[in-house]
Subunit: 304 residues, 4 copies
């Protein structure tokens, strides 16, 4: 498969098409990004790399990082984790709080805010220095010591994060947060502040396309079964209230962030990261979704 | 892969384990089934067949049939169908009516009752003799002229189908039902009354594992892209409020019915049908879910 | 109290002000009414009568009639009625179906559609000729043999009444409708089709201002306690999702209908009926609400 | 009316009947109260006083205090207050958070927690020393310099108040909290910690039965219109999800607290305070509701 030509072709097609949607703007750092940015990077499990556009520019990966904290917590806790968070798609965005009420503080899945906060609480209980240990875990996955939190961004998130504060207080009222609220929130906002380029993102997630093993060292990050299950969760829960649409149009497990990034995983084959900052009404990158739809259609490489 | 030995092994394991859950009993026909029945049939795209237990006994496939009516409607309407029904998982079971209100009569996906009723309405508009043409379509898919509706069952459904009558009236109040309510409901209840054995079920769905083509005639039922998308919809929407759980545990697109049947599709490889009448609290076959989880774990054949 | 001068003064004030809102138009009969109509009639328990404007023109009283069917059912069933319908305000309009689901088919109160349908079901069980006996009951309350159903209107309601059909089917799915759906709905649509003038309306409701007794014959329609409780229900449940607003602004128990009518009851003193067809966004007469607010403020005659 | 004999009679009747329900126990201070306590105090607008049982023992009035903070805010802000909080009953308890989402941070009424928190925010904006000025206002209403906050109770509320913290953060995310969250919450928890006896409670609320004027000094606390409207709000919103039931059974405006207290107001006549700590499933005093129902039935003194 001549991935490079194909990426190039879809890149031109995408650039020449419209660029609908709007930047996330609830914090200044996201609102000031150049909306015309478009980067794509594909890495195969054989470590072949292909890229186009702004693939080496770092951006805020935001919620995409929730897969990485989940991976660490899953590795540490195993199946016990599912006692505190579910694996079902969240349904409509608006009812995340209703759902928490109905399910007595058990978030519907680990990739919505409520669930990611519970995962952070689990890591705070498990790790002696959560922020340090998590970033080291991610650096190891990405084979890159330079991946880091962005303190300015984390601070901005915190200053406007009343809804997340509402969520964590609500969950704690049901007893499903075990640690101090400020400690957990601080960790959560740091998690969401991580920046990576498309290249770094594709590399970091590569173990999920490689049966849970690092492609270079062959070290097992997760077991085969755990890896498949993590991919499965991305498939049903990775795109807010648009998980069905992404599954339908793209057909790969993936995760998006409001910074405009999307990572998608083709088990056994490759990971592909796309970045384009304008978001559709559901909060997912418009051009990113379109790019991946064209890509999996052309390559007939959806998993279905 | 020695499928027969594996089926045999898991079959024994399942029989020796517990058989939790309860029969659907809202109509007598479902409540009178022997709860100890257990049948499995796997057919590969090369037409190799493997089976254990009560795999040749017919049972009510119920909602599984919704995939077949959707397939026909999708073939007839193409992407236009998505103007009238969505592709998102439904979220909590309880809010199906809320959702219809919020989305102004557009059901969240075509595999929940509301969506399947809209698909029936589309077929009633499109076909001159809907019941006849649908069953012929299904017989062709299954290469089997004996597949049929069960009029007694359809009659029972109708006599107790007040909630479905509520749904269709509610959808019509938003203008998303174009035909006479009684005609559409009658067609819908017939659809749900179809009976098949595991063997028949696996054969009927085989085109979805074969890029949309009949394995014998090679005739295209759906295009490759349509096939992948239909599988994607099963993945995110096929198990009521347990789609995430099934995706997580089994990792294959599939569809269940309250008769205790489950069909799962491994694109490019096989279809597998399981039947065990006791349902868990979410309305899916308990032993069926368990059997498939063991099967895809043993064969490492989840699509993720 | 010089009611006539006051009515005249507020009438002029109201006419010279704006006339915001829109006609109900889901059936032609309501959409064709002259939106400038404004009628008011006040009758005291001493039978003094005061009126202004179009007070003798009949209009469709719609949901106002639900108080009358409730009165008859309450008289026949007593407190048993509250096993099948509640007495709580409905909360937001949009969740009437959610509520039915949460409360297993028990409507929140007898003055929303769902509850009035259950009341109709009770009357169908109790009466040998429901339509005839109900209209005779109402004629007796109003001391007027000419009050009647409007068959054309009832027919129109029926032809477009898919949401009410949804409601009754949904309630029946929980077992809280005991009779044939079509029979109950037919009765319900007739109930909603009754026409009265403001004068007739004020007279018909006068027993509720007179301790449950007819002002002329002194016959007890309801007991004192039942009367107070019926008024209490109107107070908390009479104005859809605007019961609090009406209580706050007007301070009298009352009931509105989408035909633009409002009846309000001052226990021990008077009833007052207003009619102005334009409705606010909550479905209550805009000018009617305004008129009554000015009236009870000027007379300091709210019950609070 | 021989109120004393009647109170005595109903008191005996109540004591000899069952005492169902349970103590609020989310904070130790409420869980340790003697559940057999029963006190009643009635004060007429002529200052005649009648009492039975534990009417002079102080208890935590909890949410009853929300009427007093509302009264002060209403006096200071006038009708402007309704831009930030509604006057509609809340519907089902469970959806208070849903409602906030649907209404973009505008609580449904000022007597549910969310609304009372917004009222506290208004007072924090208006007053230079909110805690001090509020308690002085209440002492003046009650003609009693000894009424006070209970710091231990306030501290307990704070330590377990995660749900209230969730509410205020959620409301602030919509911009409807203008001050620092900790400051407002601290004030709110103090408000809820006030203790009074039935005698004190009846006296403090007496202005609401006396057209807004103090019965001794004749000073206007609120205007006549404001008084009627405050009573109206208590009628529709004073009993959580049981406002309709209280209106139906008792027929007076009133407010309850989870400490087991209830205050009811008969405009123009009297106030009556009841205290019995066991709560029904809706969070209102079981015996308190029963006592008041018997009382208004015997005296035929519901306002309806």
């Amino acid at each position: 498969m001549d991935y490079q030509s194909l990426l190039q072709k879809i890149y031109q097609l995408t650039l020449s098409g419209e660029n609908p949607g709007a930047l996330a703007d609830y914090i200044p750092e996201l609102g000031h990004v150049d909306p015309e940015k478009l980067g794509v990077h594909l890495t195969t499990v054989a470590c072949d790399q292909y890229s186009v556009g702004d693939s080496d520019e770092r951006f805020s990966i935001q919620s995409i990082a929730k897969v990485l904290s989940l991976s660490l917590a899953y590795q540490l806790e195993g199946g016990e984790i599912w006692k505190r968070v579910g694996v079902e798609p969240s349904g409509t965005a608006f009812n995340s709080l209703v759902q928490l009420e109905a399910d007595r503080g058990i978030p519907r899945n680990p990739l919505i805010n409520a669930g990611a906060i519970v995962v952070c609480d689990i890591l705070v209980s498990r790790l002696s220095n959560p922020k340090q240990e998590l970033i080291e875990y991610i650096r190891k996955l990405g084979d890159n010591p330079h991946i880091d939190y962005c303190p300015t961004l984390a601070e901005s998130e915190k200053a406007t994060g009343f809804r997340n504060a509402a969520l964590i207080n609500f969950i704690k009222s049901f007893g499903n947060i075990h640690n101090d609220i400020d400690t957990v929130l601080d960790f959560y906002f740091s998690l969401c502040s991580i920046k990576m380029s498309c290249r770094e993102l594709a590399r970091t997630f590569l173990f999920l396309a490689n049966n849970g093993r690092d492609v270079v060292s062959n070290e097992a990050i997760l077991t085969l079964s755990q890896t498949k299950r993590l991919n499965a969760i991305m498939q049903t829960c990775g795109f807010y209230d648009e998980a069905g649409e992404f599954t339908y149009r793209v057909g790969l497990p993936g995760k998006s962030g409001v910074g405009g990034g999307i990572i998608a995983v083709h088990p056994g084959k490759y990971t592909i990261a796309v970045w384009s900052p304008r978001l559709n009404s559901k909060g997912n990158s418009s051009r990113g979704m379109k790019f991946l739809e064209l890509f999996t259609t052309e390559t007939a490489s959806s998993i279905f």
